[in-house]
Subunit: 726 residues, 2 copies
């Protein structure tokens, strides 16, 4: 049992998920904080399910042996499990490879895997009745443990030796949480799951039990870093770097046992607003000294502090432009202070003109990140991660992949996705984003035989000119920039507002660990863990229904919202629900240019903004070519008449009508499917999902009707099937 309040949903770590593990007789070899975490988890499971666990610390004579032969006490009231007899009845061995106490059979098995497992990898092997989980470092044991949990009973089947290492070293969640309730954005900017788990009404939450449980959930899906405050850093939040640092350290203390490092969003103006310096010029010696001192103080308190996250010169946030410096100057300033401590700076590439003139069709927000950053490739320090939104605009339900990801081979690039559903239904709509992220990570910017976006994020991409994508290829194990997600978590009892949105958080971690995973298989894992068969009626029906509701829900959402990649037909401000012209005449650079004849944004080199030219071949050519551009991105790249025929054979206008009718029908089907689960799953969860599906149905119909009416009024083209358009 977790020590979290019983009203909080256990997500993918219900007690039942630990049944197979808790029935085993386990021996653990090795020392370290995270080994203790692992042993504690096993002990807790054993206490419930009757297994045993014994912990033999590694034999480093210099190291103290915190748990020589006893089992660590679980943190709750569960009675300590019986201590297993040595060796004979052990059927699960958890061990660090260099543990001198490792028995011979395990040593032989381990020798079969010569490759290093790294800081976080693990080896799993079955030998007769025994199962071995081996790691080179404590974090590997932790991830291996949760891998066993995921596998359930199958973990203990005979199996060949298999090694698991994360593809991406940095797997991070950014919390856009404010300490103060912001008058416009609230406690959590773009948060749809209640308050913040870290902050409340201007202060840190006193009780960190929820954060500890969060760390456990993150470890169980593979996330290893968290930024604890909003990238828009307001006055109070700026002080987390200085006088409120203790609050950050407290969070770090409870996340550390789960291998999660803490990062902090800082304001580039900190030397001015906190330090009282006259400027924040990154080339000013006093500014450098101020940051060096501030960073040193952070590491004094938090030795494993992850680093800084910065939104600079973006949507009004301060940045190096003020001083005539560029983003490399700005990022390197902070990176230099973090480098001695092993920290990184995440520098966001989300820079564009948010005071554009809608009349000006030559300026193209989609071009902005590339235009700002591509020329800086090679200028960033090794511990700068340039954090690039997956698409060139802003987390729309459909965008091309950002060309920045294929343009900076000498820079560590992170891909940023939005787990929080700002533009995908705000956790009132079911929208499983695994397939979308999988598509992004699997996108091959240089063509089908080239590396993928995941390779770029891993730092292993080879670019068109044959260089590796690593910044300074000689570094050995270059981590790349990894995957970053904007968190969808809040103080809501279900963590994510919509209970089924937990699947997005889970899939984020799993895909960050292994971008090659099938997102439906990941969803299946999540279902198995979150709805363990022993807790539901008709487990087969539950599983099938959850797949039916979730698998295709991203495409469904796409169908009833902005069509064909055109994006941004949402209500300004809150971004929920339709408003076709809501951004059409605004300074935000997000237009569709619909008139009575056609719709879409001409971003070709031939006649448009030239954005297609920011991609390498073959995409620069495919996107440019009206006949070869993928249908789903047609209006992102081209302005076409309503009668234009898609590759699907349908006209654009008929596609709009058809998909919008279909999308609502699919939501109705989802509601029908869900209703079959009445009485089969937790009633509170059932009720919450039901209520949200009702809202999704209402809102989807609103989208359908507004989009269809808008385009019918503009085009005058009737629906081929004579359906009702208002």
């Amino acid at each position: 049992m977790s020590d979290v309040a019983p009203t909080v949903h256990p997500a993918w770590l219900p007690a039942e998920a630990f049944g197979p593990l808790g029935r085993r007789h386990t021996m653990a070899h090795g020392t370290g904080l995270l080994v203790d975490t692992v042993v504690g988890e096993v002990a807790r499971a054993c206490a419930r399910y009757g297994g045993t666990v014994r912990h033999t610390p590694a034999g480093d004579p210099a190291a103290p042996a915190p748990h020589p032969t006893t089992v660590p006490s679980p943190p709750d009231r569960t009675p300590a499990p019986p201590v297993a007899e040595p060796d004979g009845d052990v059927d699960l061995l958890l061990a660090l490879r260099d543990a001198p106490t490792l028995p011979a059979w395990a040593r032989r098995l381990a020798a079969g895997a010569a490759t290093p497992l790294g800081d976080e990898g693990f080896l799993l092997a079955g030998a007769g009745e025994r199962t071995l989980l081996l790691a080179d470092a404590p974090a590997g044991l932790l991830y291996g443990l949760f891998h066993l949990v995921r596998l359930g009973r199958a973990a203990f089947d005979a199996r060949p030796v298999e090694c698991h290492r994360p593809a991406l070293a940095l797997r991070m969640l950014d919390h856009w949480d404010n300490v103060d309730v912001h008058p416009v954005t609230g406690q959590v900017e773009r948060g749809y799951a209640g308050g913040s788990i870290f902050w409340r009404d201007g202060a840190a939450r006193g009780d960190l039990a929820r954060v500890r449980e969060y760390g456990r959930l993150l470890a169980a899906c593979g996330v290893n870093a968290v930024a604890v405050n909003n990238v828009n850093v307001h006055a109070t939040e700026a002080r987390l770097l200085t006088e409120r640092l203790g609050d950050v350290a407290a969070i770090a203390d409870v996340l550390r046992p789960y291998g999660v490092r803490v990062h902090l969003s800082v304001t580039f103006a900190a030397p001015v607003v906190l330090g009282g310096l006259p400027n924040a010029d990154p080339l000013d010696a006093a500014v450098r000294a101020w940051w060096a001192d501030a960073t040193r103080r952070v590491y004094d308190r938090i030795p494993d502090f992850g680093g800084y996250l910065v939104k600079a010169d973006s949507e009004g946030q301060p940045g190096p432009f003020t001083y005539g410096r560029d983003h490399a100057d700005g990022a390197n300033l902070l990176a230099a202070t973090l480098a001695p401590f092993g920290g990184v700076v995440h520098w966001r590439a989300f820079v564009y003109d948010h005071r554009q003139d809608w009349r000006d069709r030559s300026t193209d927000r989609a071009r902005a990140a590339f235009d700002h950053f591509a020329p800086l490739d090679g200028r960033f320090r090794e511990n700068v991660v340039l954090q690039v939104k997956h698409g060139p605009i802003d987390f729309q339900v459909r965008e091309p992949v950002s060309p920045v990801l294929a343009a900076m081979p000498a820079t560590r690039l992170a891909v940023e996705v939005q787990v929080t559903q700002e533009y995908t239904g705000q956790q009132r709509h079911v929208c499983y984003l695994g397939p979308w992220w999988s598509e992004i990570l699997g996108f091959a910017p240089w063509g089908p035989d080239g590396p993928t976006v995941a390779d770029v994020a891993a730092g292993t991409a080879r670019t068109r000119d044959g260089r590796t994508g690593e910044a300074g290829g000689s570094r050995g194990q270059t981590p790349g920039g990894g995957l970053v997600g904007v968190s969808n978590v809040g103080a809501d009892p279900f963590w994510t507002g919509h209970p089924l949105a937990q699947a997005n958080l889970y899939a984020f971690g799993r895909l960050a660990w292994d971008p090659g995973l099938d997102p439906v298989a990941v969803l299946d894992e999540w279902i198995g863990l979150t709805f363990p068969p022993s807790t539901t009626g008709e487990p087969g029906l539950v599983r099938r229904t959850l797949h039916a509701v979730l698998d295709g829900s991203w495409w469904t959402y796409e169908r009833y919202t902005a069509p064909l990649g055109v994006g941004f037909m949402v209500r300004p401000g809150h971004h929920y629900g339709p408003d076709v012209d809501g951004y059409e005449y605004t300074p935000w650079g997000t237009y569709h240019f619909a008139d009575r004849d056609g719709v879409g944004v001409d971003r070709t080199r031939a006649t448009g903004t030239g954005f297609t030219g920011q991609f390498p071949r073959p995409w620069s050519e495919r996107y440019e070519d009206l006949d070869r551009c993928p249908d789903e991105l047609l209006l992102f790249f081209h302005h076409v008449p309503y009668g234009h025929r898609l590759r699907s054979g349908r006209t654009v206008i008929q596609h709009i009508y058809d998909t919008h009718f279909a999308g609502v029908e699919q939501v109705e089907a989802m509601r029908g499917q869900w209703r079959r689960l009445a009485g089969l799953v937790d009633p509170a969860l059932y009720a919450r999902v039901s209520e949200r599906l009702d809202e999704q149905r209402r809102c989807a119909a609103e989208w359908r009707d507004q989009i269809n009416s808008y385009f019918f009024r503009k085009s005058g083209v009737p629906d081929e099937h004579g359906r009702r358009i208002w």
Copy 2:
């Protein structure tokens, strides 16, 4: 000198305006609080300009004589003026008609005006070198005094006897001021002049000097009632009726000397939220008793309390519908408790479905007030004033007059206008509303020979069936419901944000006193008072320029905003600036139905919502008839093709283009004209107006471009003159 902080602009009561009065030798006869006010004003003027004043109280032997022969001390540090010698050198006599001390010559003059002057009227007469201002009641003297101020030197020219009485007895400003800063609407809902002069951050402002000065300004333009809090009554504001009543009483105390009565917005749910009763059913005896008790307590504290203002069953506010009762039941409940004390209830007729379905073209918000209230005519108590917005929608720059105003002959009707410029530029744009109100008040619902809206508000209208519009015609001097304006005043140093918006406040009072006044003449009064020639360079140029900027500014605003009466093309929420489709697919009932072929709302009986049928003839016929409907309201009543020819001869689409180009050109001309005043008027005022004119120019161009682009994209019709449409 006023006792207000010197940083507050004196508006239309600068010291210089009192010059002609302050040079006279004045004798005042009569007693009463307002007589004291008058004498104090004169004394203040004399102290500055060398005149004298003597106050001989009336000889009612029962009445105390508060200022037997001395001059009351002015409220500031100004030294007391010299006391005049009796009689001989008096050149201005201010007197209550029944003052026994009245000299014979004045008595003779007064006898010439047999008509009673009423509570607020006055008589002005010149006799040789002497001028007589006579009233039947102290308030008359007060209004007469400010009439003298307005007249300036001309007040003392020889003139025949003239009598002035207000056409409308109730001349009221509603403050939509919140006590608490509301999270959405702020300190003042739809306020564009800074904070509230009454409230700040959850409490009453301690210093009421500003309120006192406000009362003085109101008296000087003719306003005699103020509602001190928002019609949307939130939790804190509800308590103004009970434990916070002292705050209201304090305001009443400082406004009383200027003849301004205080009214209070109350929540219909008060018996529940304040009294703890289980319901607020107007027919429930306990509810009636609660209100009776609450009202009695109010009058214990504020004997001349004006009454309650109620927004019920409107935009989410509670009301009698909850209990299956109607608006007459609700209003009469409160009226019954107010009647014994002479108070009235202002009951707003702004009731409509704000959760309409945009798909439903049969529901018409314009119809709502009539449909709700016309059937209740005759059901309201005598001290209920039904407060009707001037148009059927919501204070748009152009609407037809509300048909409710011609439909309830047995009800006291007040016309509600918006002095605050919610939909007319929010005090960032110059928009002098005098002509708009004048047009509304002068509108003749029953045709050119019938009574006007002003007659309805005065309670003197004769309806089509020959009955008077008075509720209970036998009451003698029936006051009618009067004119109500939503205040545009705030804590801003210029009172109204835009200094030239003061003219709207002034004109509101003057037109409420006499709806027949020429709004340009009223503006001329305002200019003369606010920019006294002695304080400006080139007074002729100043006056001409202010007329050039202000006279036609309402039409200018109309030209560059929503065309031909269609209304509501504003940004949702704040209502500033254009968003053509902003409300098109919302539940608010404010649509234009533009498609590729045409635009407008069909409200005819023949094919539309039938709203035209709510008007009496001839308007029911004129509005119905596409060929006779006034151009400026065409799209309010009809949906027409873009090629439809207006009575002006232009097509609708060309009219849209032409007026939008013209509107911006006119704003540019206003800016040019204003610049001529650099160095000629108060520099702070000059700078404020200049800055706002820049914003008006920017915003007008935004309107022009968005409206023109929107309709060009929809219609495909090019501008005949080939001007730039984006």
